[in-house]
């Protein structure tokens, strides 16, 4: 058996986990630069998701601090991101309102008005400390009925001193 064939055999017995492991390593490697100039809070969340999945992430954010939330992941997974405050009010959504067709805007750390549409990151300051709920729904393409794409996400949070 050649080394090349041995590699394939090993890959087979190791199964599919290395694929997601690599995905998570990739997310880890880009997390710091995606948060810049914010400092990572040191926590790493990389759920493996399939189209049609929906994940929730709750975190306490301190009043008066500047934050950045970034949702990383494979481009082929279409991510609908919603961030709600403690009262359930939508403060960020990267898709247009179903009712008005309009998108939301926020002001980044440089003071620029930024559209939330299509964005995977959100910069903000809260007046008071509160728990925010981050929801990520992985859209499923209506055309494909027999299979669903699978991949990993990264949810990272940065703050400014």
């Amino acid at each position: 058996m050649t080394m090349k064939n041995l590699f394939f055999v090993l890959l087979f017995f190791l199964g599919i986990n290395p694929i997601f492991s690599q995905c998570k390593q990739y997310i880890e490697s880009i997390a710091e630069s995606s948060l810049s100039p914010y400092i990572s809070d040191g926590n790493f969340y990389t759920p493996v998701v399939t189209e049609g999945d929906y994940i929730k992430f709750t975190r306490t954010f301190l009043g008066g601090k500047h934050y950045k939330i970034v949702i990383l992941g494979m481009d082929f997974l279409e991510k609908e991101i919603t961030i709600k405050d403690q009262d359930g009010i939508v403060i960020f959504a990267n898709y247009p309102s179903r009712k008005t067709g309009e998108g939301l805007y926020y002001t980044d750390y440089k003071g620029n008005k930024v559209s939330c549409l299509g964005s995977n990151e959100f910069e903000f300051v809260l007046n008071n400390t509160q728990n925010l709920l981050i929801e990520v729904a992985i859209e499923k393409k209506a055309k494909r009925k027999k299979y669903r794409l699978k991949g990993c996400l990264g949810i990272v949070v940065g703050f400014k001193e």
Binding site: F8, K56, L62, N128
Partner: protein, 290 residues
């Protein structure tokens, strides 16, 4: 060998295109919060997180004159912690202490706290992030607070990634517990020296939100009840601290009317003193665990 290659390719294919099979067991089907007209989606996972010790320390960075190095957990005390559980909690405690040292510009002790964290990381087999490279970089940047904060955050992030990749999420959760209790202990010690600081009182009271998230984390990832029981003794002191009232607001995006909670803080000195004393007790129990 062609057959083997074919099987492997099939394996890879399955990894990316999973079957469109109905999810089973422990998956709550919920209405899509984004589009109520869309088909239901599967609730896959729920995560809870909390502010890092560095974040909490940075809220009081102007209080350097009230910060007391002697309140940090002694470096000599590591030897009493023999179990993995105890060492993980103490790693969290030291990570909070390191955060406070960096934020408070106490550069002379940063190296020794980093070294002790490296030692625990080695004992717990979570050395990724806490290695000689980190120590060298810290030594080179010892006078640059911004760089030190970034280096420390990066090391903690790498360690956390490693733990979550290697079925050590219980260790990661214990570290979070230790880090949080030490952080609020240090904040409460600063408050004791300036009880008129309403801003710091609010910061401490706001931790009532964090304790709920930690309790949820503990119930998911820790088999042992030690941390949960300790935090449950603290919770009533936080719950007793504020009153709430509700007012009606309009949410433009969702086009629905929601009730918005307005928090009213009550600064009863006795209650706050009781809370800070209870924080000290719980912290003592954490650091006494062997």
């Amino acid at each position: 060998m062609k057959i083997i290659r074919l099987i492997i390719l099939l394996n890879l294919f399955i990894a990316i295109f999973s079957c469109n099979k109905k999810e089973e067991n422990n998956k709550d089907v919920v209405n899509n919060p984004i589009d109520t007209a869309a088909a239901t989606v599967i609730m896959k996972q729920i995560y809870f997180s909390l502010p890092s010790p560095m974040e909490l320390a940075s809220l009081v960075d102007e209080k350097q004159n009230l910060f007391d190095y002697n309140e940090l957990y002694s470096l000599d005390s590591l030897k009493i912690h023999s179990s993995d559980k105890s060492q993980a909690i103490i790693m969290g405690v030291y990570s909070a202490d390191l955060g406070f040292l960096m934020i408070m510009n106490q550069t002379q002790n940063i190296k020794s706290y980093t070294q002790i964290m490296m030692k625990i990381a080695n004992n717990l087999d979570i050395r990724k992030g806490f290695n000689d490279t980190l120590l060298n970089k810290i030594e080179k940047n010892i006078t640059n607070k911004d760089s030190l904060v970034k280096l420390s955050a990066k090391a903690l992030f790498s360690a956390d990634a490693y733990m979550k990749e290697n079925d050590k999420i219980d260790i990661s959760t214990l570290i979070l517990n230790g880090g949080w209790i030490e952080s609020i202990y240090q904040l409460s010690q600063i408050l004791k020296k300036d009880f008129e600081d309403t801003n710091l009182i609010k910061i401490i009271i706001d931790q009532r939100l964090v304790i709920d998230n930690i309790l949820k984390l503990d119930s998911i990832y820790l088999k042992d009840n030690f941390c949960r029981e300790q935090l449950m003794t603290l919770k009533p002191y936080f719950d007793n601290m504020i009153t709430e009232s509700k007012t009606e607001v309009y949410d433009n995006f969702a086009d629905t009317t929601l009730l918005k909670t307005k928090i009213i803080y009550t600064f009863d000195k006795n209650k706050i003193l009781n809370l800070t004393n209870e924080i000290s007790k719980v912290r003592k129990n954490f650091i006494s665990l062997q």
